[in-house]
Structures are given as C-alpha cells and as structure tokens.
Symmetry: C2
Subunit: 232 residues, 2 copies
C-alpha cells in the first residue's frame, strides 16, 4: 500500500514535469510563429498565433490545479515540495511568455498596410533568434535538471538586453529621420520590448531551476538589473 | 493539543494575509512615489522608489516561503488551501506591480534634462490616479474578502485600457508634430504601458479574490482581452 502511494506520487510529479515541458514547447512555437508572421506580414499566421494562446492559458490552470491537488493529497517535503513549487512558478512564466508572443502577433495585425522599413524588422528577427535560443536551452535545462546550463542562460540574458538597447536607439533614429516611420517604429519598439521581457521570464525560469536543484536562490540579480538602468 | 494546532494554523493563514496586505500597501506607495517623481522630475525621489523595490521582492520570497512551509506542515483542504494559493498568486502580482512602478522611476531617471511637454505628463498623471484607485480598491477587497467589489474593479479596468489607448494616440501625434519630442514621448509611452500593465495585474488580483471566495475562475476574460486587440 505504501509502495503504491509512493509510485503514484512519483507519477504525479512526473505528470507535472511533463505538462511543463509540453507547455514550454507550445509557448516556444507560439513566439516563433508570431515572429514569422511579423517578418512575413502574414495576417492569417498572426491571427492563428493569437488563438493558440488560449490553449496555453488553460494549461497554466491545469498545472496549478494539478499542483494544488498534489499538495492537498500528499504532504510533500524538501525536494518533492520544490518540484511542485517550481512547476507552479515555471507555469506562470511560460504563460507570460506565450502572452508576450501573442502581443507580438496582435501588433502584427495592427501593422497591416503600414509603411515598414525592412532593416528594422531584420533587427527584431535577430533579437528573436537569440531569445528563442535562450528559451529552448532553458526548457532543455529544466528537462535535464541542469543548473549549470541554467546559470549560463541566466548570464546570457545580458546579450538580449544589449540587443534591445541597440534596437531601441535604432528605432529612435528612424523615427527622427522620417515622421512617417513613427507609428510603425512604435509598434516594433513594443515588439522588441516584448522579446526583452520574454528574456526576463527565461531568466526567472533559470532561477527556478537553480532553486529546484539546490534549494537556494540564484543571487546577484540586483547587480544584473542595474546594468540596463536607463531603459528598464 | 488539536485545538492548539488549529489555532496555530489559523495564525499561519492570518500572518500570510497580513503580509499580503503590507506588501500591497508598499507596492501602492512605490507606484505613487514613482509617478510623483515623474511629474515633479524629482530624481532623488525616483532613485528612492527604485531602491524600495528590493524590500518588496524580499517580501514576495518571504510569502512564498511561508506559504510553502504552511503547506508542508499542514495538509490544507478546500478554503484553507485556496487561502494559501491565493496568497502565492497575489504576491506574484504585487511583486510585478512594484516592478512596473520601479520601471517608471527608472524612466524618470533616464528623462533628466529632456524636453518635456507638460500636457503629456498630465495625461500620465490622470491615468495613474485611476490605476492607483483600482489598486487601492482591490487591496481593500482582499482584506474584506469582497468578491463583488473585485468584480467591479475587474470590469473597470476597461477605463484604464481606454485611457492608455487615447494617451498612445496623443503621444504619436506629439512625436509627428516635432521630432524633438520623440525620445521623451517614447519614454512616456512606456510609462503609460507600465500603468496599463499594473491595471492588468489588478484584474489578476480581482480574479484571485473571486476564486478565493467562490472556488471558481472569473470567466469571460477572453472577451475582455479582445476589446483592445489593436494595442495589446
């Protein structure tokens, strides 16, 4: 009987972890599809990406329910408890990442027919590649419970921030050069900001993986935040 | 003995709730101070607001630890479990609200010495008043466990969104009129967006209060989100 309970408990934890992985894959594809739609100005693709966010929201709710049910039924301690708390935290971050992807798709819909300097969209594309690579690596790190890889991702977020800051300046320059670029550039600026925020959620997940493995917080966050003081 | 455990459990829950209230008060003041600093271009005030965010981050961690400890020590069911889950959720939203307030303070620091049309700052101030009123009402609703008030706040977020949309258009107009306004307006645009996002977190808290009282999700969120499709 005791054996049965242990096995089924393990299954609860495994199910939570696999739901997180599935949700992560879906969030990643949503961001990818949104960027593709923006680059190609593919309105149908953008609309599809917006719709897909609904599934991810309901997965977030499922994971919370599953976590709460597991907590209520069992009395988890130490590592098991961290597993459940981590699933809860990561689920929140993935839901936000998908939301930010959806925001990019919505911007794309709003951009239909607007004057669009190709070079700026390329800048966004480049930033998206880096951000998506970070997201993929952190999802793999979660699957492998690899805190070293999580730390590497966490540090590499500086590159995402640096790219954002340079894009920000580029956008301002374009706007000043020609007022007809202002509306388009403002929307692209928000898309870039959405990617930068996706990067921040990736670092949150990195912190959670570190906590999951070690029981400790990933420190010196404050220091890191201060580096891009001027442009949050 | 059993009595003692029950009382102490109640105390755990009360302590969680009172920590949330304290954290809410601090987050509210941080946003208030950030807006004041922006309106008065008070750099010392802005720097102070940025620093205060550290305390709120550590409160979020304390609340999570306390919640996790309570879950680990007791085996909460139904209403008690919802109390703890709600504290966890609200703590995340308050941490984000404080973060967004801090972003405004950081923008203020970046705006020092820039050309600033007074009228635009007034627009932000007006939007901040509405957003802060929403935040105050939802914190009171949490203390009173008042789901009717939570629903009212949830619906009223439309007004915050409408104000944001109208500010957005105003900012674009200013930028197009005079390129010297572009840099300042872009920063203000992000400040307005931060307020709009604070409003979204307030609606999250409203949903949590509703769930806390009823055990049900606050529905038709999708419908609401679709209303400001064009400007996320």
């Amino acid at each position: 009987m005791s054996d049965h309970i242990v096995t089924s408990y393990d299954e609860d934890l495994k199910e939570l972890a696999s739901k997180i992985s599935e949700m992560g894959g879906r969030a990643e594809r949503l961001v990818e599809d949104s960027i593709k739609a923006l680059v190609l100005m593919d309105m149908a693709g953008a609309a599809e990406a917006v719709e897909k966010d609904v599934i991810i929201n309901s997965m977030d709710q499922e994971i919370e329910e599953k976590a709460v049910l597991t907590i209520a039924r069992r009395q988890p301690m130490a590592q098991d408890l961290r597993e459940i708390v981590s699933a809860l935290r990561i689920s929140v971050d993935l839901e936000r990442i998908a939301d930010l992807g959806k925001n990019i798709a919505r911007r794309t819909l709003a951009l239909e027919g607007k004057n669009q300097p190709k070079q700026l969209v390329h800048g966004i594309e480049h930033m998206a590649e880096l951000t998506l690579a970070q997201l993929r690596t952190i999802l793999d790190a979660y699957t492998a419970r690899d805190d070293m890889s999580a730390i590497a991702v966490w540090h590499k977020d500086r590159e995402v921030d640096a790219l954002y800051n340079s894009l920000f300046r580029e956008f301002l320059t374009y706007m000043m050069e020609d007022p007809r670029n202002i509306s388009f550039c403002t929307h692209l600026l928000f898309c870039a900001k959405n990617l930068e925020r996706i990067g921040d959620h990736v670092t949150n997940i990195a912190e959670t993986i570190y906590y999951l493995n070690t029981g400790l917080p990933l420190e010196d966050r404050q220091f890191k935040e201060d580096e891009h003081l001027d442009l949050d």
